[in-house]
């Protein structure tokens, strides 16, 4: 994919207009989805009441309480988690030049979930922030494992190898989690992280997401130009005098900040990190300065919509949102697997 897109970076001015249009359009879509997400649920609330609850909060009204304490944090949390997963997927695809790279395919989300189980069992008194840190460590560990496997394999990290390494490391970590949770009888919490869901999102989780993810997003945008050059090939990047090791290290930091924060709040929600960067690349071209912001908005939009769907499909029961994203993501994965794109 790298070579064919090489020339497109030249046409940047033309693409910026288009990207800006797509960006604004998706932002509007996201806002509408957020509104729908807050309004629809077990009991539907009128949009005017939603607006009232936001601008003129009245604690005496139950609907205002529901919106402020339950639905709003959940909707905002979904938007943030979705955009973080999408951006970390985009960064991973840029760094590895591998179309299948994404937090769920590479086992990163499993790493974070594993660390969360370990923290839950061995440090039960850990605060929310402590749990988020555990999640970062787990995500970082999994990224490190997959990259180590990749860099020591003969023939480099082809998409098949990457996917298989992700399956193996993800399988290993989730098996360890199951063994630990069976022994210490925390299976219920474990099944929550593995099914993935936003039901427990409150304002504290939103704060954690904003802090950790905010840092990650800023770094991602800061290295986006360097990443565009890197995605043309390591030699090109070095030839242009870029410090590829610095870019890659920062990229890894972005991945585990964003994936770690996302998993600690919503569990292992799959495929957003795979699908959204591809759609963004298709819409705005190969420049990561455009891909990253567009991915962030589209990812948020997708997860907010999926989460709303998860609540409505089988109301009053919640469908795990991971299952819904998988139904969008699996066909997409199969499409990528079938296409013989250059480096597949």
């Amino acid at each position: 994919m790298a070579q064919s897109d090489e020339l497109k970076t030249e046409q940047l001015p033309k693409r910026i207009g288009r990207a800006a249009f797509i960006f604004i359009f998706s932002c509007i879509g996201l806002v509408f989805s957020l509104g729908a997400s807050v309004a629809f649920g077990v009991s539907d609330i009128e949009l005017s009441t939603v607006w009232q609850a936001v601008v003129a909060f009245d604690p005496a009204q139950t609907n205002h309480q529901v919106i402020q304490e339950l639905r709003l944090p959940r909707a905002v949390g979904a938007a943030l988690v979705g955009s973080f997963l999408a951006v970390s997927g985009a960064v991973m695809q840029g760094l590895t030049r591998n179309p299948l790279a994404s937090p769920s395919v590479m086992g990163v989300t499993h790493g974070a979930a594993f660390a969360l189980i370990v923290a839950l069992v061995f440090f039960p008194s850990l605060s929310n922030i402590g749990m988020t840190f555990a999640s970062f460590i787990g995500a970082g560990l999994a990224v490190l494992l997959v990259f180590t496997v990749g860099s020591f394999s003969s023939g480099g990290l082809t998409p098949v190898k990457l996917a298989l390494a992700g399956v193996a490391i993800g399988g290993m970590l989730s098996s360890l989690s199951t063994a630990i949770s069976l022994h210490f009888q925390v299976a219920k919490q474990m099944s929550f992280w593995y099914a993935g869901g936003l039901a427990n999102t409150d304002w504290t989780s939103v704060q954690i997401l904003l802090v950790a993810g905010g840092i990650g997003l800023v770094i991602a945008i800061a290295i986006s130009k360097a990443m565009t050059v890197l995605s043309l090939g390591e030699d090109v990047s070095k030839g242009l005098g870029q410090n590829t090791i610095l870019v890659k290290s920062l990229g890894v930091v972005v991945v585990f900040l964003l994936s770690g924060a996302a998993v600690s709040v919503a569990g292992t929600v799959g495929f957003i990190g795979l699908v959204i960067p591809h759609i963004s690349r298709f819409l705005v071209g190969a420049d990561y300065r455009l891909i990253i912001p567009v991915s962030a908005v589209l990812g948020g939009w997708l997860l907010v919509a999926a989460d709303t769907g998860a609540r409505l499909v089988n109301a009053p029961y919640e469908t795990p949102v991971g299952a819904i994203t998988a139904f969008i993501g699996v066909p997409f994965f199969l499409y990528l697997a079938r296409g013989n794109r250059g480096n597949m």
């Binding site: 299948l100 496997v149 020591f152 394999s153 003969s154 023939g155 998409p159 098949v160 190898k161 996917a163 298989l164 390494a165 399956v167 193996a168 490391i169 399988g171 290993m172 989730s174 098996s175 360890l176 199951t178 063994a179 069976l182 022994h183 299976a187 219920k188 099944s191 099914a195 799959g270 495929f271 089988n314 029961y317 919640e318 469908t319 795990p320 991971g322 299952a323 998988a326 139904f327 993501g329 699996v330 994965f333 199969l334 697997a337 079938r338 597949m344």
Partner: protein, 336 residues
């Protein structure tokens, strides 16, 4: 040739003794410890009623299932690797296990009240539904991977995708269950010998034995296929037909294993690789060795899983995954 033959015989005998050794240890261990002497006494019919009950009704069925499922899975993996000419094929990775698992879970929760209350004909319909699921999954994977022929790499990637799809289907379905059934289904799907009784053995094991015999009988066809399609056709082998027969055997073995022991992954991958390493790639010697090796590994994993954190049990599939993924990753790094 003489030396190769000697190696083969040595490995087969060694593995046979290893299996018997693990079997004896496995019989001794558990919540009720029974000494080897007492085990022997019980086998010749001189044990107490309680020992007889524990050994014959609780431990032995599980052990028999572990042995035959181990054989079936490693054979299935070996055949899949041979047919797809891809050393990383395995019924778990390709999504065949999760397809069978999905249909089994559907069957149990639609037609039976829960997993523990299977009785009468229900037990015999369970392997049928697992087989159905395995074949549906295999057909879907094959069809999606088809694009003017089936490339090994595409097959694996499509398998991973289909696997994730079945996983999502299972999650959707599991939400409807009560929490206890949910956990049971989770554990079972990662591989667990969950219904160790003689009815179950009689429902699953005969089919596995028949397929194993047929597969070993077919091992020379696998050798010819491995030469490449052109050469195989030149030698007069009906390539497509042989490939289809072998695939059906492999999928059938995987389906029956899932019925008995859930979705155990990686065993079908690791056992054939070790076998190839010790006796070489010729299928006539490699298949029998990997069959016994699979039985030994699964029996050992089952013994470890049910005793290491007693009184709780770790499902056998989890032990297999934890032990074999490092080896899998090593293989991954080595193959180009």
């Amino acid at each position: 040739m003489g030396q190769a033959r000697y190696r083969f015989t040595a490995w087969m005998t060694g593995l046979l003794f290893l299996i018997i050794g693990i079997l004896l240890i496995s019989l001794n261990m558990g919540p009720v410890q029974i000494s080897p002497g007492d085990v022997f006494q019980t086998f010749i019919g001189e044990g107490s009623a309680r020992e007889e009950l524990v050994l014959f009704n609780f431990r032995l069925p599980g052990i028999v299932i572990a042995i035959f499922v181990g054989m079936a899975l490693s054979l299935s993996g070996a055949i899949l690797q041979g047919v797809t000419k891809n050393g990383l094929a395995d019924p778990g990775i390709l999504g065949i296990n999760s397809g069978a698992g999905l249909v089994v879970v559907l069957y149990i929760f639609l037609f039976q009240s829960s997993m523990s209350s299977l009785s009468g004909w229900g037990i015999y319909l369970l392997p049928v539904s697992a087989l159905l699921g395995a074949f549906i999954a295999a057909a879907i994977i094959y069809a999606l991977a088809w694009k003017k022929g089936v490339e090994p790499i595409r097959l694996i990637l499509v398998g991973i995708g289909v696997n994730a799809g079945f996983g999502a289907g299972l999650i959707l379905f599991q939400v409807q269950m009560n929490p206890q059934d949910f956990m049971q289904a989770m554990v079972w799907l990662s591989g667990d010998i969950w219904s160790a009784n003689w009815h179950f053995v009689s429902a699953v094991v005969p089919g596995i034995i028949l397929l194993i015999i047929y597969a070993l009988f077919k091992s020379s066809a696998l050798n010819v296929l491995n030469l490449g399609d052109d050469l195989a056709m030149g030698l007069g082998a009906p390539v497509e037909k042989e490939r289809l027969i072998l695939l059906v055997i492999a999928v059938g073995l995987a389906g029956l294993s899932v019925a008995a022991a859930g979705g155990i992954a990686f065993l079908g991958l690791v056992a054939p690789h070790i076998a190839r390493r010790v006796v070489g790639p010729k299928h006539q010697v490699m298949l029998p060795v990997s069959t016994l090796l699979g039985a030994a590994i699964l029996l050992a994993a089952d013994t470890i899983g049910s005793n290491i954190i007693a009184p709780a049990e770790i499902p056998v599939g989890i032990v297999v995954t934890i032990v074999s993924t490092p080896y899998f990753v090593y293989l991954l790094m080595k193959t180009a």
